[in-house]
Structure formats: C-alpha cells, structure tokens
Point group: C2
Chain length 168, copies 2
C-alpha cells in the first residue's frame, strides 16, 4: 500500500511540475517568505515587462512589475483569474533625480523585491496567491507579510487581487 501511494505521488509530481517542486522546497526553504514560503524566482530579472508605477513619498519609489510567461500570456489574453503557475515580481527603487536630464527621475538604490505566486492548491486560504517581500534578498518579517493579503483583497477591483494592469 505504501508503495502504491508513493507511485501515485511520483506520477502527480510529474504532472504538477513546478508547483510540486515548490512544495518539496518547503521542507527547508532558504530565504522563503513567512506564512507563504515564497522565494525570489530564479531568472526573474529577465522576465517580460508588465507595467511601471510610482509610489509617492515617504517611500518615493519607481517601480516595475515583470511576469513569467504564464502570467504575461494571461495578461495578453485577458485571462482571469490568473492560472496556476503565474508569477509576478515587482522591483522597487528609490526615486532619484537624474544628474543628466533635469525633468527626469530615475532608479536609485533598490528597496524591495515583491513576489506573487499563483498556486490554488498551495494557497487555498489566500485566493490562490502566495506573497513574498524581500529586502537585500531576505524576506521581511511575519508582520509585514500579514498585510499583503488584506491590502490586495480590500483594494483591487475585479482583477484577481492583482493591482498591476498590463501597460500597452
């Protein structure tokens, strides 16, 4: 019986691919976010561009959201909710006066990297989303992660709890 169950698990692992790999990593997640166990995805900096944003003072940041292929495909086709496997990464930088062009502000020091991972099986209690907020590659504390879900659920209108829309 034990072997039969293991066989089923192995087959499921193959079928679920990355999602199961993430689950396996939960056992000893290095630099994974509290509550959700989300890590900074490898290669995210080369992902496709969704949209820029600016955050007013006191944070005073320039931001950009990148997405993996599953997320970008969903954006382009208008698929909601986002399918499992979608990952969004928001890069944030202090807004800095350009020293070369007076009307422009440009990225200064990086501040946070924020990640949303869609996995409806792993995150049934947060509408399928797992969250991670990172400073210098390390996840911030539990208290900060407790604010993610309520803010997204309380503010985003009809966009699967994702603030960012695709910029044309």
């Amino acid at each position: 019986m034990k072997f039969a169950l293991l066989g089923i698990f192995a087959a499921s692992s193959l079928a679920l691919g990355i999602a199961v790999s993430h689950s396996a990593a939960e056992e000893a997640p290095e630099n994974a976010s509290p509550i959700y166990g989300v890590t900074i995805p490898e290669g995210y900096r080369d992902w496709k561009f969704i949209a820029p944003a600016q955050e007013a003072p006191p944070l005073d940041e320039l931001r950009a959201v990148l997405g993996n292929d599953i997320a970008v495909d969903a954006y382009k086709k208008g698929i909601l909710p986002f399918p499992d496997g979608s990952i969004l990464v928001k890069l944030a930088y202090k807004r800095k006066q350009s020293t070369e062009f007076a009307p422009a502000t440009v990225p200064g020091a990086p501040t946070t990297v924020q990640v949303m991972v869609k996995d409806s099986k792993k995150y049934p209690d947060s509408h399928g989303w797992g969250f991670g907020r990172f400073v210098d590659g390390k996840p911030v504390d539990v208290a900060q992660h407790q604010t993610c879900l309520s803010c997204h659920v309380g503010n985003v209108k009809d966009h699967d709890y994702v603030f960012t829309r695709y910029a044309p």
Copy 2:
C-alpha cells in the same frame, strides 16, 4: 558579371543579417523616422526590462526602457560603446492616479515610443545611433528628430549617448 555581383550581395546579406534587412527596407520604409529611417522593431514589447523613469510635468509621464538581447547583454557586461545591433525602446505613458491604491500612480494613455538603433556603418554621423520617435505608431516630424542627437550628445556622460542605466 551581373550574376556574380548578385551572388556576392546574397552572401553579404546572409552574413550581415538584420543590418542589411534594415538597409533594404530604406528603399520604401513604412512608418520610418525622418533623418534616420528607424522603425518600431517587431516584438519589442516582449523585450527585457532595462529601467523605469519618471518625467516631470508638463509631460508628467511614467516610462520604461526595454532592450533587445544584444543591448541587454552589453548592459549586463558593461560593454561600451554598445555593439552594432543594439536596440533600445522607451515606452512612455501619462502618469495617472491609481483608483485602487492612494500612494500609487500608474500608466495612463501611452504617449510616445522612442527607439535607438546602434549601427555604426549606417549612422556614422550620429555616433552610430539612429533615432525614432513615434506617436500612435507613426513617426513624428523632422524638427522633433533634429533634437534627439544634440540632447543625447550634450547631456549623457560617458555612456555612449544613452541616458538609461540598467536597474538592478
């Protein structure tokens, strides 16, 4: 003799690749910029992200620069001047208050798409760069294109006439 020359041209075309395609397109460039003959590159919206920026009022825009693989590779390796074949595309949007999150401003209507193409053989008189500024997919006029080079040459410091630096 005619056939021999055609043969040489065909071989050169293969060797030079995209650069020659651009030259060939010059004969009847559709929606190409004045002065430089630069067009909006196909597929640019899926290119990799270089950096965001904000432009102060009166333009009051959020911007992002994307690059093709040659340009992104040069950025990552710190290669200057940018090699031939580098293409940078700046996307610009009116800055708009988010209706969902008070501290955020987000992309409104797209305004311009601006393109820089490095081709030292085609653009020997502009430090190897060709420029194109587009509104609704159409190039703006000669007068506007006459301002590109002088502004980049007059303001950019030691970065091959390219304002944008790679955001980490």
